[in-house]
Symmetry: C2
Subunit: 421 residues, 2 copies
């Protein structure tokens, strides 16, 4: 059972838009035992759409198309689908009523172009779009299912969730797939590979897959197997996962796609602890990551983004003498920032950052990528110095991930110390 | 002159990684008159790589491959390229020395797997990677150029910038392409389409292209033409762009891919003004966006992320009585936040946000997506209420964009008022 994703749209080809839809679909289909084998991005011209459909129909069982269904003049997708599937457009009253009520709800006038979106191919099963005006369409041709959806991510996700996923098991015999993901932090891909070298070879010989999935500051190890005997393949994946885990134990921060910020958030929530942040070089990104999780207000009290040194002194109690003697990117300053925000917002823990994110601002003694991260706890304050690279956004992301990992380890070691007493 | 991008890697197909490389390459190639016509993502199996190369070689002049060159066991790309281009691996001493010095620089031990990355195909021109250990490779076959690069974005970008772009004009006769992008904010695609309907038809008849490029809160209009007579097509694009601009004047915030935050930053810098932010529902994202620009420390002083109400009272001077009477998501609170942070950090302007980002926390009177944005200036404070949707990240992004646009307009209208005095 193989799937192909076809993304239609010049905005992707000219690089105006990053294709996040395919990653989401790949992830969701994988969970359901459907492997995406190809992702193709094409222009919205009839020739390219037809050619892509031809290729996909012989190599895939399920073809998911996104894009090309907007209300503006440059969309030719619907017409091409009609001719490809040998059908014609007809007015769909239910869809028309939905579109009208959609505009009523958002308080904007419905225009003629929106009305046209109720014109849908006769032979298609209409997939309702509760979040926008372009409906999804499900076509059956020979042995392949073709689904066309709008390219707006939250509309596409809505249609997949509301209308597509539930229909798949009745249409396809889905194989079972078991997988286990080990999340590691602060260690490179090569070091991990070296550590698990022998087990990796045996695991592959036993017919399992192992993938290294690196992102800034983190590498995920995914162990997987597909088959029909669900209990057996689950057991095999668990067996080999334990072997791998033993070899990389000290680097593991979580499992199964939990992000570092989720793991940290759960830890704080469980213990009833609170957190505040004093950010300089990360400029608000740590706070953004923390608050990207719904429910974070339980443990996250607030932050001070002290971009200017005056703010570091006035609001965080950083000593002017230390700023002069050591500079803002220094151990005494970052530790005073952590203590300062922790006291100010009366939290259990605090994180602070001060560094040179780049690409400019470096010196010989403090090159671009130099970052100090501070952690304040009920019992102590400590800090670490990092040297990342030259890319501003990457330095900000790496700092954030390492800061979260430092705090996570500190909380765990404090818990351990308490238990041992 | 057509290009195709082939992305190799299961991490993209299973949705672990979003393919941002293709967007970057598409954008950069477009600027240089090279149109990317297809983007294909495949597994790193010899069969899929060979098949993708076969298809690409007949439909593209330039084939850019990324991925599949990491140091771990699951990479088969280099071997497949050797067999496809009928060559063998040989040890490259210069590359080996570079890899060794790379590890010396970052202070990590060089391992055997890294040494293997100095084994490169004999017939390829080696493209040096100054940021990592996997070299790029340039193959010429029949009339097509194939370039293979590592998938790590900043390594790929480095190789493209250092080694690829300059070689392209001597290898290909590049057509000239002129384009002009009009950035609009706070207006939907359909409304824009309606406003420029007639000009759009005439413009297309005249052989120009017009693309609508929507992102949360913003739509870009791109007018373009390719050809050989550079002066003539530039003039045509300018002529039709002026016609379009006249029709959507009030929605334009900038041109040619300037982001809203860049436009706002330039405005503040030019006038020597400063900015502070009090964030609640945006949780640090506004600060992150501001500080994502290198040099923002000139005008951005700092922020308070007042997630907890106590912080709103203590640090921003929000009245407890107003929090009780109106709630945190209310006009009086958001206006007090803006005034509070502006006074505290002594800035020319301040932005504040308070809302229900979702997906939970809504009520009948204040549904999810309800957001107040406040702006404080030297002469006044004012605020606007928005009703966005149900998606947390989208609500945060929309709030950020609308807040920047509100401040931008305020600064411009104040400048106008001063001029008129």
């Amino acid at each position: 059972m193989l799937a192909e994703i076809i993304t239609i749209g010049d905005e992707i080809l000219i690089g105006q838009t990053v294709d996040t839809n395919s990653a989401w679909m790949g992830r969701e289909l994988n969970k359901r035992g459907i492997a995406v084998k190809y992702i193709t991005t094409i222009s919205d011209t009839p020739e390219d759409i037809r050619a892509a459909l031809d290729v996909a129909s012989y190599r895939a069982d399920l073809v998911l198309m996104t894009g090309g269904l907007g209300p503006t003049q440059d969309d030719v997708t619907k017409a091409t689908l009609c001719s490809y599937f040998n059908t014609t457009l007809e007015h769909n009253e239910e869809v028309h009523a939905r579109i009208a009520s959609f505009f009523e709800r958002i308080g904007r006038p419905m225009m003629e172009v929106h009305g046209l979106q109720a014109q849908l191919p006769k032979s298609a099963t209409v997939l309702m779009n509760a979040r926008g005006t372009a409906s999804g369409m499900w076509f059956d041709k020979d042995d392949t299912v073709f689904i066309s959806m709008p390219g707006v991510p939250y509309e596409m996700k809505g249609i997949m969730t509301d209308e597509v996923f539930d229909r798949l098991p009745s249409r396809f015999a889905l194989p079972t797939r078991a997988q286990h993901t080990i999340m590691t932090g602060g260690v490179g891909e090569s070091t991990l590979a070296k550590k698990i070298e022998k087990v990796e070879t045996d695991l592959r010989t036993a017919g399992l897959g192992l993938a290294y999935l690196p992102s800034p500051g983190s590498v995920k190890l995914r162990i997987s197997k597909s088959g029909n005997d669900e209990a057996k393949i689950r057991e095999e994946v668990a067996f080999w996962s334990r072997k791998v885990e033993t070899l990389v134990k000290e680097h593991i921060y979580g499992y199964d796609d939990a992000s570092m910020v989720q793991v940290l958030g759960e830890l704080l929530k469980t213990k009833g602890d609170t957190l505040s942040v004093a950010e300089s070089c990360t400029g608000g990104f740590i706070s953004h990551e923390l608050t990207s999780l719904s429910g974070s207000s339980v443990y996250f009290m607030g932050s001070i983004v002290s971009y200017d040194n005056q703010v570091k002194m006035d609001d965080l109690g950083v000593l002017e003498s230390d700023l002069i003697a050591h500079g803002a990117v220094s151990q005494p300053v970052v530790e005073q920032m952590a203590v300062g925000v922790r006291n100010r917002y009366k939290t259990t823990y605090a994180i602070s950052t001060s560094g040179i994110a780049g690409p400019t601002g470096g010196s010989e003694k403090k090159p671009v990528g130099t970052v100090w991260v501070g952690i304040a706890t009920p019992s102590r304050v400590y800090s670490r110095k990092f040297l990342f690279g030259h890319n501003r956004q990457r330095n900000i992301e790496m700092t954030t991930l390492y800061a979260f990992n430092m705090l996570r380890k500190e909380i765990l070691s404090e818990a351990l110390a308490t238990t041992e007493k």
